[in-house]
């Protein structure tokens, strides 16, 4: 099994999912009741992967949620373009579809332009099976949304803001909600991909899964789309490390704070990691509150010891059992004491720096109020005052100082991280079937209050939306329009291989300026053959670059067969290999090994390049070997 690494500051919570690909069943710790063995629990929902052929030489890989005994539900699909052959070296993932995404209705769009309107919208617009469902992300055009963002920000600042407060407020409000919706879908999609067990559901390879996850998470950042494919592995590693770090830190921080305040902490396991934590109070303890004053640092809840509501509590409770030493045990028995436990709050543990309170069982509107306060303050400043960190230095200084001080003291200041945590919580509730149904229902009700986006759909309508969306996608991909679209994507991809970064940037700007009417696509009649070559070269060049960067002697660290095969591919297409620095890579291989077979392969490949391009790459070889002997 391979794990994937994700998210730090901007993405924090979603990354939690990242560390795990195995769907483990109901972990005992995920359900306090199951720990005690006193209550029956349902098995957790699982994912299976279904791969369907698509007209034009592609596959549709779909992650399907299945609850034992319940209906199956398509969740996420990704198109894998195989160019119609069985050679995996030229396969490429392209568009990603998240099926619970429903295009907002006209009313939702209208409400989203209203400043300070923080209510989730209705069921969304039903997809017409005849129309093309909208892709969440195109992996071959990851920088497209980033360019759009830049152009839109400039347009907003230079044009729309100039029309005065009403236009500025409405346009900014709409843009903000739209961006939030997109980010939420990205985080949720990443969460679903993370649930994949690559042993039981071999739909996507490790590399594909990693690429998909990294791209989904990077897409939530303004500049993430510009991160190159060669950096995805490093990015994902760093993000997963940050995520694992946050998870452990928050787990322990919350446990220690619970201990200091004489409360109880229980972790909740999701997809193999303790991603959430709950805080409890023992009802009998309310009779003898601790003598010291309650501190809500990191807990963000009101003093439970002087709360009359808890003494009259008739909400959800659990019974826990303790032995004589105070250690919790799974079941009742001799010398075992039973205690009624009242839940106080639930926290996201993968939020950076501090646990983020998601649910307050005594005051269900408290997390929503906090979020509304933060968001309305920001909206007031940006939409009405028209201040921006990039244009108003006083605001920049004040904002940075506030951000630093509040963050340093443990405040949840980063909006993207909060959003990520909310999305993960939603995904968790969607998937988890192991929790006591009463508790899950309480959590679902409270979770729905956290969504402030009028463009978002209600949870109850998501399942219906998902089925319709998936059906529409299948119908469309099977249609001539679908095949045409696939070829358009291929031509666009070929453009990216064959043009410089500057030219590509120009094409992007032209596309945005023409509101998408103009899109440059290479129109060679042999584009499929060309794409086949370019994909193979891109993959092998990336492999060689990655391998060479991490070693001084290939025979110690690398699989020489794989290296030779990569060199052979570069030599096989000598003219095209120049675009991928093929000769340079081969020279590096030659200088990093003593293996005669590999060196011979290098010489042959360089010879082929020399012959085809008229260069003298063989003569450029210098140095007898890696260590200079």
């Amino acid at each position: 099994m391979r794990q994937h690494y994700f998210c730090r500051s901007p993405f924090a919570a979603v990354l939690m999912l990242a560390s795990v690909c195995v769907i483990r069943g109901a972990d005992l710790r995920s359900n306090p009741a199951s720990l005690m063995g006193s209550k029956p629990t349902l098995p957790a929902a699982e994912l299976r992967v279904e791969t369907l052929p698509v007209a034009g030489g592609a596959e549709l890989v779909t992650l399907i949620r299945r609850v034992p005994g319940g209906p199956e539900l398509p969740v996420l699909s990704v198109v894998r373009d195989t160019l119609g052959d069985v050679d995996p070296r030229n396969d490429r993932l392209s568009e990603v579809y998240f099926h619970t995404y429903a295009a907002p209705s006209i009313w939702q769009k209208a409400f989203s332009t209203v400043p300070f309107f923080y209510w989730r919208g209705g069921p969304g617009k039903s997809d017409n099976p005849q129309r093309r469902p909208k892709a969440l992300l195109d992996l071959n055009n990851a920088d497209g949304p980033a360019w759009e963002g830049v152009v839109w920000a400039g347009f907003q600042r230079l044009v729309l803001d100039g029309f005065g407060t009403p236009v500025r407020a409405t346009t900014r409000s709409y843009a903000g909600n739209k961006s939030d919706l997109r980010n939420t879908q990205m985080f949720r999609a990443a969460g679903v991909v993370n649930r994949m067990d690559d042993e039981d559901t071999p739909g996507l390879s490790d590399g594909e899964q990693e690429q998909l996850l990294a791209r989904l998470l990077l897409a939530t950042s303004a500049t993430g789309g510009w991160v190159s494919d060669s950096s995805l592995n490093r990015v994902s590693v760093k993000k997963q490390a940050a995520l694992a770090y946050s998870r452990g830190q928050n787990w322990e921080l919350l446990r220690q704070r619970a201990e200091a305040e004489s409360l109880y902490f229980s972790p909740i396991n999701y997809a193999g990691s303790d991603s959430f934590g709950m805080l409890w109070i023992a009802k009998p303890d309310l009779e003898t509150p601790p003598r010291r004053a309650f501190s809500n640092q990191f807990l963000a809840i009101a003093d439970p010891w002087n709360d009359e509501r808890l003494k009259r509590w008739n909400g959800y409770t659990e019974t826990w059992y303790f032995d004589g030493s105070g250690a919790r045990v799974p079941a009742a028995g001799e010398g075992i004491q039973a205690r009624e436990m009242i839940p106080l709050a639930l926290y996201a543990l993968e939020h950076p720096r501090v646990p983020l309170r998601l649910v307050d069982f005594r005051d269900e509107n408290a997390p929503r109020r906090r979020e509304i306060f933060k968001r309305s303050t920001r909206d007031l400043i940006t939409q009405f005052a028209g201040w921006s960190r990039f244009t108003n230095w006083y605001y920049f200084a004040g904002h940075s100082a506030w951000f630093f001080v509040t963050g340093r003291r443990g405040g949840a200041v980063d909006r993207n991280s909060r959003q990520s945590a909310y999305s993960l919580f939603r995904t968790f509730l969607w998937f988890d079937e192991s929790m006591d149904p009463r508790l899950r229902e309480e959590l679902r009700r409270r979770e729905s209050l956290l969504n402030l986006n009028p463009l978002d759909t209600k949870e109850l309508s998501e399942e219906m939306v998902a089925r319709r969306h998936y059906d529409a996608l299948l119908a469309w991909l099977g249609s001539p329009d679908g095949e045409k679209h696939l070829n358009n994507l291929r031509r666009a991809e070929l453009t990216r291989y064959r043009h410089s970064a500057k030219t590509q940037a120009l094409y992007q700007v032209l596309s945005i300026a023409s509101l998408g009417m103009y899109r440059h696509r290479d129109s060679s009649p042999h584009f499929l053959e060309q794409l086949d070559v370019e994909r193979k070269l891109s993959q092998q060049a990336a492999f060689l670059d990655r391998t060479l960067c991490s070693t001084q002697l290939l025979e110690i660290t690398a699989d020489l067969n794989a290296v030779r095969q990569a060199v052979e591919v570069l030599g096989q297409y000598p003219r095209e290999a120049r675009r991928w620095n093929g000769a340079k890579l081969i020279r590096r291989v030659y200088g990093t090994t003593f293996d005669s077979d590999t060196r011979n392969t290098c010489l042959l490949a360089l010879g082929a390049i020399d012959k085809a391009t008229g260069t003298h790459e063989v003569l450029a070889l210098n140095g007898p070997g890696p260590a200079g002997e």
Binding site: T223, R255, S266, R292, A327, L553, A558
Partner: protein, 814 residues
Amino acid sequence: MRRLLLFLLPGVLAWCAPVSFAAEPARRVVILKVDGLPQWSLDRAVAERDARTGKSSLPWIDYVFYQHGTRFSRFFVRGISLSTPSWSILDTGRHMMIRGNVEFDRYTLRPYDYLNFFPFYVGYARKQTVDMPSVEVIDDCGIPLLADHFPYAQRYQGMQLFQRGVSWTTLRRGVEHKIRSLTFGLVLEEVNTGFELGAAVTTQAERELIRELSDPDVRYLDYFTGEFDHVAHGTRERLAQRRSLEELDALVGRVWSAIRRSPFPDQTLLVMVSDHGMNTDEKLYSQGFNLVDVFTGPAGGGHHVVTNRYPLQNFKLKGLDPFVNTVFTASPAATYLRDQSKEYPTVTLDLDGNERAAVSLRNSDLNQLHLLLTGVKDRETGALLHSAMANAAMELIDRHRVEWQRKADELEQELVAVGHARQRLEDEIAALPRSWSKQQVENGEDKQERRKRVRLGEMDSNEKSYAAYLHTLRMLLALTPAQVTERAFHIPDVIAPRAMGDLNRPGQLQNYVVGWGERGPLLDANGDLDSSASFRRIDYLQLLDGLRVRNAPQPEAGNRPIDFVAVVIPPSALAWMPEGERPIDGAIWLAQGRGGALLLVRGDRLRYLPVANLRETSEGEVRFDPQPWRAGLPLEVFEDPSFHPLGAERERWLAGWHTEEEWLDASAEGRYPNAVPSLREQLLLTTPKALRDDAPNLAEEERLVRRFQMRTRRLVATDLLVFARSQWNFNVRNPNPGGNHGSLLRRSMHSVWMMSGGPAPQGMDVRTPYDSLRFAPTILHLSGQGDCQGEVLDALPVTELTHQGCGPARTGID
């Protein structure tokens, strides 16, 4: 093609057989110092195959050390598994002189903060320091570093805990290189994942190490990395830790390749060594237990506590202060010292390493005296009680008078001698040239001069601070009954602020005075103060043993955070024991409440004795009831299935006296390897050769200076050494859920020592257990500076790598 192969052949041979056993000493030594790298973790990673390549997941370490080098698969920490003490042994080959990452002087509360680089760098820039604090301490003890055995111009030292000097160019070039190497793509990547400026410096240090390898004059090079330790403290996740190991593996590859290109490819000894292991488990979080809360809380005595860092410093603005080394945490439950947290803290805590805590409590009798004098000063105290308190105070002073007087006299003599030595040093410095030639700078003579100035400042500061304590002690001794009765004294004049006083005896720790009793001071039938009923007392050994937590969500870790507590018992307290059983050098009580076990120390032999009902009599004798062997004793010597010998033989073996090596061999596969010798090393200070005041022909003044130096080392001793159970830790700075070290547990004690190249045999796995004291002698021996008599260092080189007559052969359990 044939010509090509012939051309390549020498290189291929050189690569494929990079290490050939050579009896010739190494011309050059390169040491990769890795903080907190556990042997078990490395073994596991090396054994795992990378599915993509079919090779080890750490291919370079596998190739260089496992296949073509020598490794010590049973290499253990000596002392506790903590960085500064452990590196002090590895870097010197001498017994431990530093026993924590921070130490507080009991008389002056001076913090020796060994881990904080920032003040060192700033001090160096201001020409106020030249060495890290740890190096200053061992210099004062006359102990050279391993690097010091090589001439100044022939060594290259990286940034580390035991660092001499600062290479500003490393910092500057590191940042410059980082900025220069930033491409648009890299900036984007870092914007989305966080900037890594810190790595710029370590990468630069590596580049410089590799550059220095091409200089044939450099004979000693080292490089320090704390990355794995840092990652493993933060996260238990295997992949994150694996990533760190992979980076280490790549470093080995780069250094090894550079050695192959260097002038002495076959005569360079490449060494990888770690100071300790790491108790990390991918299925469990390490849970913190807050001892600061215990000691500041009402049940713990309501102490004002001193630490070297702020609790939860990452969430405090003042936690950004990089110079902080003394933090006072006031107790809300304080009674007689309320609002005096900075003047009269009564507990110091060194929590670093985290699986152990060194606790110093102010001497219980000082507390009692403080209470009495405060009561006497209180004008609202009734006449009878006032008189009784005054009498009790004088009685307490009289009880200690002889001992305190002796200590005051000795300290005064020493301070006079130190003053004279300081004067001589001042004259010596005045005679030194004001400027240095390039040649002198290259030979490090300017650093020597600055070192002398630092030493001068140190002596001056010591004189003043100890003189202040001495003055208070003299004032206390001079206190007359009339002065006490008439309240003619100021408490700060007679009870030294910011001082812990002398170490508490075991009996004091069991009856520690923390304040007045519930009913306040009481008189007995004779009108005297009823000292047994008047004071609130705490048995700290019982208290610590009885601690439980309610939040222990991992059943495997249990809800008892404390394993056992180690307390030193002076030999005089056990003088009543029969001749054959009596320890000569003292004992260590491994306390579990009132029971546990005693480690008796007699010369080079140690014995483990289960005891119960340990108590101190009014005559100062420590008495106990010997107990039969049972499971559950500290160190689990009786039930540990991996402790040798096995079965019935074990009981007989345990009843005897054994050498340190025998204890090491017996416990090498056990749950607490090398624990018994380590406890001795940690708690019973060994006087270094350079500070022995019984050396022949020693001038009186020099003898006193040496005695003073040893006194300063003894004054940082602590009362309690508290060990955490596995998967518990005492860190309060910030959570350390990934893993911790500091204990005597196997995962923390099992460390790494591997060598390759030069005289190191290929493919050798030394199964004989060794501890870190053998490291430096072996490295010196292999580099041609052998010390087969143990005259210079405190141990001999390992037997397997020496030839003819370098100490007796070790017989391991294999």
